[in-house]
Symmetry: C3
Subunit: 381 residues, 3 copies
């Protein structure tokens, strides 16, 4: 990392990672680790290490395992296995320099650290973000009549957000139906009819009316709502995950809850537009940060920041599974943002106090404000 006051301050800043997942607690073999490296699958004859994120892991994570930079995959994996999952997780989670993790607990195909374990391993604070589709599916699994679905879902959602440590909710509507939804709040009769269809066929919540109902229930809950947009795994249709598709809905809910557009890549400019014209819309470029790696994180952040008000950009890693990503996301964010700000300082396009404030806001204080975390109302300068 280049020198300079912005790099130093960002390196010292305790980040708020406003959207991440847990780290796998079991030891991982090669196939297991490689499957975490990619948003696709690990394919025969192609190592997921042969990718931007694979190169970034070998470059930036190997030293934390006391290995040289650019260590070959085999050596890296052997050393990782020797140390064991607990020690590996501890090292990367602490190296992330993250003071607060907001953990989406609704996605865990592996055994992963919950907020409490993450707190211990990282020596940080962890809060929980509740995935609403999971609540709806639990309501269905528990057995409910179609005409009782709306009330049961609402009750379960309220119970979930009132649990200690829960700071927000999340929806993966982008995966289930795409974001090109009818923006209107569905009527009770429509919800009952849709519940009838869905409960009859079972499976995950992908009934468009119920997904709309879920988003409007989020509005009623009054908590910050995280929305998956853009980049994700092979289950998404990227052209239907464009955050601009939310425009009419965002207009309808203006003045209610904060909406946090997650990931966004490659739609970071469109998300920035939404954050510039809607008071309560925010964005991050999580997930993309470690996948593109420090080599391109600055370029992605530069697009995201072209018109984004400085109060509207947040940091998230969206790390899942490999604790390397909790570290790598933080590192790519710090390095990309610091490079970008330093370049503007050098060109005298920005003053040092402004650069430091922007960095502090994006890395920590904007999340504190939105989620009303400790420090959020005090440290606002």
């Amino acid at each position: 990392m280049a020198a300079g006051p912005v790099h130093e301050r960002l390196a010292a800043l305790e980040l708020v990672d406003h959207h991440c997942h847990g780290a796998v607690t079991d030891d991982l073999d090669r196939a297991g680790f490689e499957s975490l490296l990619t948003e696709g699958e690990a394919w025969p004859g192609m190592s997921p290490f042969d990718s931007p994120v694979g190169v970034a892991v070998r470059r930036h994570c190997a030293p934390l395992l006391n290995l040289p930079r650019h260590t070959p995959p085999d050596v890296y994996l052997a050393r990782r296995a020797d140390l064991g999952a607990a020690e590996v997780n501890r090292r990367f989670l602490r190296a992330a320099g993250t003071g607060v993790f907001c953990v989406d607990t609704g996605y865990a195909p592996h055994r992963v650290t919950g907020p409490a374990e993450l707190t211990r391993a990282a020596d940080a604070t962890a809060y929980e973000v509740v995935r609403l589709e999971g609540i709806a599916e639990a309501v269905a699994a528990d057995g409910v009549e179609p005409d009782a679905y709306a009330r049961a879902f609402r009750t379960a959602a309220w119970e979930a957000v009132r649990r200690p440590g829960v700071v927000g909710v999340k929806s993966v509507a982008a995966y289930r139906t795409g974001l090109d939804l009818d923006p209107a709040r569905p009527s009770p009769a429509e919800v009952t009819a849709a519940a009838s269809r869905w409960l009859a066929r079972g499976g995950r919540l992908d009934e468009p009316v119920l997904v709309r109902h879920l988003l409007w229930t989020a509005v009623d809950l009054g908590r910050p709502l995280q929305l998956h947009t853009g980049f994700g795994d092979g289950d998404i249709r990227l052209h239907r995950a464009d955050p601009a598709l939310l425009t009419d809905w965002l207009r309808l809910i203006a003045g209610t809850i904060p909406v946090l557009l997650l990931h966004c890549w490659p739609y970071q400019r469109r998300a920035a537009y939404l954050s510039a014209v809607f008071e309560r819309v925010y964005l991050d470029v999580g997930l993309a940060l470690h996948h593109v790696g420090p080599a391109r994180a600055g370029a992605v952040l530069a697009e995201a920041l072209e018109i984004t008000p400085f109060r509207k950009l947040l940091y998230s890693s969206d790390a899942y599974g490999a604790a390397e990503f909790h570290h790598l996301g933080a590192l790519a964010f710090r390095q990309g943002l610091a490079d970008l700000l330093q370049e503007r300082l050098d060109a005298d396009e920005l003053s040092l106090p402004d650069a430091l404030r922007l960095a502090r806001w994006a890395g920590r204080d904007n999340a504190r404000r939105v989620y009303r975390l400790p420090g959020g109302l005090l440290d606002d300068g």
Copy 2:
């Protein structure tokens, strides 16, 4: 601004700003000025100064008010108030180094300088661009029967474009219906039926058939047609303002009028494609220039210029309200373009005469040609 012959020539070039609005003539208080800084609204607890354009104003505009670079907002606003709107406007409009302003007179929620006042304040020439939706709405306001609407609109439009100083027309179809319109010219019966619906319900012109009719009337008028595309205020749906959606219509009208794609961001590459394959399609990246600021104007221009023929890029500020933007747009254009050209000169990817010609064409001569302004047919080298 870095030194070098391209920077010097661009600094000395009298620009043609082919699409802008007036500057507010009343003195502005803090809330009034801040509301002009953003395409959204000024929100409680978030200053519009905390944004890329806010930083650019404090950096590049403060010195013209005899203040240091990066002046705090309060100091900037106090000094601005002391000088008064007339003096502030005069300073920024002259600093813009713009020889010709083509003023869209159809959008003015504030009292703003018309072409004549802009001419005096800027010591420049000003022409007028007529907004067609405004003409249609005036026809409706004057009272017209549905079956007389088409003729009345056409007559009013012809009268408007024949006024002295009018050089083109503009449509905000992107706001009213989006650009995903049926490309075909509507039949007289369809127009009458649509007029009947619209005149019955009133309000702004957002009836799709009438918006299509408006665009086809523009073709009949034979004048250059400016079309809003991409970035704008919170009233737009960005995914429906993609200029590529115009493809079928552009194919139908090939060989008729010049079409000028305004703003385009974040679709500058798609607009560039249209300009490369349709003879009479042009583009600019106005509005984006001052919102992204000089720090990113070069990056946006570089994308716009990836495949755009050199005869097809124009300069506009799309400044509205704050005369700072008439200056800042010009400055961001000059600096971004000069940096980009200088980099190619340094890499020997471009010769100096070619770089200077490209700059002169984009900054001035392409607009002169399209709008048949004085000098437009002579200075073509």
Copy 3:
């Protein structure tokens, strides 16, 4: 070209150009050459030389005609005419440093070099890629009953791909219907009904059901399938050529044939996403490389490579007509990729062996593997 080991190795690497066309064998006059310079048309009063690709030709091609860099168009064209098409083609095709050309023989409005002539002129190996729409149209031209169409097309396609030297097939579905097709395989009855409509009206294959049928026939053929996406001539609708529109179809055909997304610009990030989540999806940024020129090829490649696995990027020129483009595509690829890799080496984000491997794979070995070309299974390190 800057010095450095990556630049040297890329300069020495015999590329596989996995998608190109022939070079015109007749001498070209000014109008003829200019019409090849642009994806649009050559318009009165605007020289196609006044464009990024025109500048790149004068800069990088003139020296191969023993002219100085940045030679004026008239001088360039005169020298080109003096040398004659055969000599010009020989010079550029050899300068390309391309060891293998995969030639799409289905588009040739001019008399152009076929694979055999290209082999001789370039002192390289040439293979053939068969355009499936051409086969369907030949079947129709030969006369076929609607209910025999499917079988006749399939038989003709099998015959075509079994010809010696044929390594893959191509579809221009993006031009004919757009990529927003129903992903399902059409039933025999649907195909017969669609064939009935199409054969009755004639013309090129633009019947959506038959285009889907063509894509599914490609799956049955088992050969690598090249798909036009993104940038092309004025006949395309760019918003319907977004490769993300193929997502549902790619999911249906997972595990069958390799699919090569051609061109992709300006959707290179979306194509990269597809290549990251689907095992058998690959991409290139051909056509864009020479149109944006070496000045921007690195920027386009950097976006394409943000998340693309290193086994998934291929090189193509998509050169057609002017042999300058076979050279310019190769040069822009080499220079853009080497600059990008060198920058990461300098920042210690990449090791030299990894950089060289990525370059070798993208420039040559990935294509060898996909098309099972000689060397494809051996040189895999």
